[in-house]
Every structure is written in C-alpha cells, then in structure tokens.
Point group: C2
Chain length 129, copies 2
DNA sequence: CTTGACCTTCCCCTTCACTGGAAGGTCCAG
DNA sequence: CTGGACCTTCCAGTGAAGGGGAAGGTCAAG
C-alpha cells in the first residue's frame, strides 16, 4: 500500500507518516521502482500501537523506546510496565497539582464575582489576582 | 533601579524582563543617558501581578490583556472574572480527562505487572498497550 | 589604566508533534 | 497528450516562555 492509503487506514496524514519514519517510529519503508514508499499491512498495526501509546499519554520518544526493544527481538513488557508506572505517578502528580490550583482559582473567581468598585479601581492592579 | 536589581527583586532574570518588555507585559523602560533601563519600584508590583497570574495558570497573553485594560484606565475586574471562569472550566476539564486517563493507564499497568510470557512475545507488539 | 561586573542589541536554540508549501517526478483516465 | 491526483525531497514555521551566547558599551574600584 502507498503512503496515502496507509494514512487513511491508520487515521493520520502522509506528513505525519514521513515524520514518524524520520523519527524512527516507522522503519524506512520499502520503495517501488519509482521511489514511492510501499507498506505492508503490518504498518497499520504498528501505527495503532503508536496511537494507543499516545492515548496513554506517552511521548513519541517513549513509544519509540518500546518499539526499539521489540525490534531488537526482546519482549518490551518490562519496559512498558516501568513507563506506565512512571506515567501513573506523573498523572497523579498532575491531578494533585490541578486540584490545588482549582481551589485557588475558584477562590479568586468568587472574589472577583462580587467586586467592590472602590477597591477594584483602575489606579492599581486588580486586587483579585 | 537597573534591570539586574529589578530581576533580583522580582525573582526572575534580566533575559525574562527584556522578553516581557518585548511582549508588551512591561512598558518600554525609561533609559539612563548611557542607555541602561531604569525602573521604578512599580515594576516589582507589576511583575508580582504577572507571577500571580502565571500561578493561576493564565498565559502571558491573557495576563497582558488584563494589564492592557488596566493601562487604558479601566478596571479589569470583569475581564479577570471572565478569564478565571474560563480557566476554572479548563481546569475541571483537565482534571476529568486525567482521572479517566488514570483509570486506563492503571489498568494497562496492572496487566503488564503480571505478564504471561507466551503472549508477551517479541513477535508482536506488546499486548499490554 | 585596567579589570570585572554590569548593561546593550542581535540572533539562534530549546521541547513536542506536527503542518505548510515549493519544486519537481509518476501514474492513470480520457 | 494533457490534466489531475498522487508521490518525492527539503526548508521553514507553529506556540509557550524563555535561554545561550556573541560583540560591544559603561561604570566604579583599585
């Protein structure tokens, strides 16, 4: 299949596929005599994996690490587990941060919802922030 | 005060201060005869406001909007309230998304924590992602 | 008089994941 | 044989918030 067909099958764009090849997420594609990239259906599977990794919040670099291990003939599950552990810790940290931020922003918003014209003057920076 | 002193007083760097001036967050500074920027203590207040805005998760562009309104002699509180409302909705959306993501990632991690060697082979993409 | 700390402008670099566009080659239908 | 759809490479830019460093001016102390 050509790059346009793969893009449609995988739900992405040709630009992105060339970018992925450039970044090492896809192996350099076989070429037709005319120089067109020719893909096997495996590529769709690989791209699905990439998309699942992205949906889990992994970066392309992390997904590439997993694929590199797999491409070297090893089972990447241990590494996947480690990455997911780290990702989980990261998500927990983000949630904690956002909950704390939410409290602060909600308090500021509530204060700003009932402004006292005298203190909320243009002469000074708005006191609600 | 010179730019280095202001940077120290505001807990930032001279690079950042010139960047802020460039972005319109700080008005173009007065200059000494030698061309050095000369600031009044007001600048510290303004930078504190910028930092509080950042701590609330506002972008520099949003903070600039508030400051522009204030600099035009109007009270920015109404706009601040609108920005904080939007920010709050955004935080809630992020938290919701992260909680959903957490469930998925935790499930993947738990699956990967107990791999079955036969199915977690190098011949196929790791089934835990 | 020189040294060192500070200041100036200028331009490029960073991360992340793409996206746009130009200039040119290939392939198939009409 | 021409038009349009597809493909190729390469270069450049996006957005956020600065950071790095060069080349040169200024100022106070020793």
């Amino acid at each position: 299949m050509r790059i346009g067909e793969l893009a449609e099958a995988a739900g992405t764009t040709t630009k992105t596929l060339r970018f992925y090849e450039d970044q090492g997420l896809l192996p350099p594609a076989e070429r037709t005599p005319a120089g067109y990239r020719a893909y096997t259906p495996e590529a769709v599977t690989r791209l699905d994996f990439v998309h699942r990794g992205q949906a889990a919040g992994l970066t392309l670099a992390q997904i590439k690490q997993i694929l590199d291990i797999r491409d070297h003939g090893q089972a990447p599950c241990g590494h996947v587990r480690d990455l997911l552990d780290a990702r989980l810790a990261d998500i927990d940290r983000q949630i904690t941060d956002l909950l704390a931020l939410r409290v602060n922003v909600a308090a500021l918003r509530d204060a700003a919802a009932d402004p006292e014209p005298d203190t909320c003057s243009a002469d000074e920076v708005c006191r609600y922030l």
